[in-house]
């Protein structure tokens, strides 16, 4: 009977003289450990807007909105920390590895959601005829850089390359139906390119 009492008394005395177990958080900053998984954030320089993060997100915390209204088609990627489960899959699957990263930030309670949202905007390339989204400009140029000379084989990539080299071409002109075989080298989606190829064949016959 005696021994347990002494042991517990020791612990109790230790408890009296040691400082409180809680931290003084709001008054003193808290530094999470280096591996802490905090709020994910987009980085404008690294992100190419491919949408891989949107596809792998298991909590649907990332929205990808393609605004293809005439004039200036734009893709917006928005990360909602309130839905996020901090699994780090977006960072792991990012094709550039620098587009979205988890930060050390943990205080994501908000009054206005705009304060915590992280978003990035990219210019979209759309089909000249049907308006289908082909990809973001930055993504296509990133692909072009990776595949090098092979890019010459793909009309969309070729047009990007020419734009980058500031070679003024007629391809930039807006296409008007009917689609002709020469339109194959314009910025068109695979479906329209197929139509261009087939319809012209018929004409020749």
């Amino acid at each position: 009977m005696k021994k347990p009492k002494i042991r517990e008394l020791k612990e109790a005395v230790k408890g009296i003289f040691s400082r409180p177990y809680t931290t003084k958080f709001p008054y003193q900053p808290h530094t999470p450990p280096p591996r802490y998984r905090g709020k994910p954030e987009y980085y404008e320089e690294g992100c190419v807007g491919c949408g891989a993060c949107f596809q792998v997100c298991s909590a649907n915390a990332i929205d990808m909105i393609d605004n293809t209204e005439k004039g200036n088609p734009i893709r917006t990627l928005i990360q909602h920390p309130s839905k996020c489960i901090f699994c780090r899959e977006c960072e792991r699957n990012c094709i550039t590895g620098e587009g979205i990263k988890l930060t050390q930030r943990f205080d994501i309670a908000y009054v206005d959601e705009e304060d915590v949202l992280s978003s990035v905007k990219h210019k979209l390339i759309t089909c000249l005829y049907c308006g289908t989204v082909i990809g973001t400009e930055k993504h296509l140029r990133w692909v072009l850089k990776r595949i090098g000379n092979l890019g010459f084989a793909q009309p969309v990539l070729l047009s990007q390359l020419m734009e980058e080299l500031q070679v003024k071409t007629e391809y930039e002109e807006k296409g008007v139906p009917p689609i002709q075989r020469t339109d194959m080298l314009k910025v068109v989606c695979p479906k329209c390119r197929r139509i261009a190829f087939i319809s012209d064949e018929k004409k020749e016959k």
């Binding site: 009977m1 021994k3 347990p4 042991r7 517990e8 612990e11 177990y21 999470p32 450990p33 591996r35 802490y36 998984r37 792998v56 298991s58 909590a59 489960i85 901090f86 699994c87 780090r88 899959e89 792991r92």
Partner: protein
């Protein structure tokens, strides 16, 4: 039972003041004694199995992690075992050790949480405060290793997502030694305490036969002398590679459950130390890339802190499971109150119900609603009554 005028029904729940989870217990009492107990569940049904069919293989790991907040790694553990069983693959050695470390750390924190709650239920808040204070370094350790105090997101099909860096191991070892000292102190203080012993001894006894009747698993079964442990019976991860023993007790009362759980904490520390020894200073792969899950069926088991956690998956070779069946340990453990509560006093019921360490949100896989005007939950008795009523109706018509 209901016809007996002497019995009084004492309702507990659906929002249980003690267990912080919605479930409903009806205690049929004759004076102070419990004559019968009824249980209604289904308040917490979230449709996880159905959701799982709409997620990719990799995403399901995060989904099943959220079945339970306390044993949040046991479901991914069982799920990954299932997929690896389906594919027929083995994982790299380092991943095996890391998996075991995470599983055992979780066991320590879950059992300490239970001990604290048990103390709280008995009105012994010092135990509650101490147990939860010593649980805190375990959670800190999780934050260092995985980046989060809970929901560690460490598991993936074919290995683990994050490595335990060799530089971190001395720090982990130091923290673990501290935790071990504190655990020994707490275990001594709890088990030698005359008040706790008097309060828990011979309360809510489950005999060996009861355990076999209900098919209970985990510490509940081991406290009654039934020697079952998936880690030993069907080895997986690093458990066959390290030395450890299965803790059992004889009486099957709540005190024995506490003894088994607390001794398991020390056993877990032993396993973690050996795993750290095995991976320290070595380099190695932590996971294999799994590109495709073939057609077929698989089962996986894991000894969660509460008992055996079981997953079944059928795949048709596509991106997501066709069928995902989950059986959490509480599914077999909770119904034992039929054997343990009857004959006890009302004041003991709280600790007996808590003694099996129930996790209702883990268990709930189905909820039945009346589509008509009266919306209510059905249990087995209701269904039997409905069936009888229909027979009566048909009999009259004929």
């Amino acid at each position: 039972m209901k016809n007996n005028k002497k019995t009084v029904i004492v309702p507990i729940g659906p929002y249980h003041p003690l267990l912080e989870e919605p479930e409903f217990f009806a205690l049929y009492c004759d004076g102070e004694k419990i004559v019968d107990v009824e249980w209604q569940a289904g308040y917490n049904h979230r449709g996880i199995e159905k959701l799982s069919e709409s997620k990719h293989w990799d995403q399901v790991t995060f989904l099943v992690e959220r079945i339970c907040g306390i044993c949040s790694t046991s479901h991914p553990f069982a799920y990954c075992n299932t997929i690896e069983n389906l594919i027929g693959m083995t994982i790299p050695e380092r991943a095996k050790y890391i998996r075991s470390i995470i599983g055992e750390l979780e066991r320590i924190h879950s059992h300490l949480l239970w001990m604290g709650l048990a103390g709280h239920f008995l009105g012994y808040n010092t135990v509650f405060m101490w147990a939860w204070k010593y649980r805190e370094p375990v959670l800190d350790l999780f934050e260092i290793i995985s980046g989060n105090r809970n929901h560690y997101a460490m598991f993936k099909i074919g290995g683990v997502r994050r490595n335990i860096e060799n530089e971190d191991i001395p720090k982990i070892r130091k923290m673990l030694a501290e935790i071990k000292g504190q655990l020994e102190m707490l275990i001594g203080a709890v088990l030698d305490d005359p008040v706790l012993t008097a309060r828990l001894k011979n309360v809510g006894v489950l005999t060996k036969q009861d355990i076999k009747n209900f098919g209970s698993v985990g510490p509940v079964a081991r406290a009654s002398g039934v020697d079952v442990d998936v880690r030993r019976d069907e080895p997986y991860a690093a458990y066959p590679l390290v030395e450890w023993s299965v803790i059992t007790a004889k009486n099957g009362d709540v005190l024995d459950k506490a003894v088994v759980r607390l001794s398991e904490c020390l056993e877990a520390v032993k396993i973690i130390t050996q795993c750290l020894d095995a991976i320290e200073g070595k380099a190695g792969e932590i996971g294999e890339e799994v590109r495709r899950v073939p057609e077929g069926e698989g089962i996986g088991r894991h000894e969660a802190p509460r008992g055996e956690c079981f997953h079944y998956i059928r795949s048709d070779g596509a991106n997501s499971p066709v069928r995902h069946k989950i059986r959490a340990p509480s599914y077999t453990n909770v119904p034992t109150f039929k054997a343990s509560c009857i004959g006890q006093t009302i004041s003991d019921v709280a600790i007996i119900l808590a003694g099996v360490d129930p996790c209702y949100c883990c268990t709930e896989r189905v909820a039945v609603y009346d589509a008509g005007k009266k919306k209510k939950l059905y249990d087995f008795q209701h269904l039997v009554e409905l069936s009888k009523q229909k027979t009566e109706r048909i009999r009259k018509e004929i």
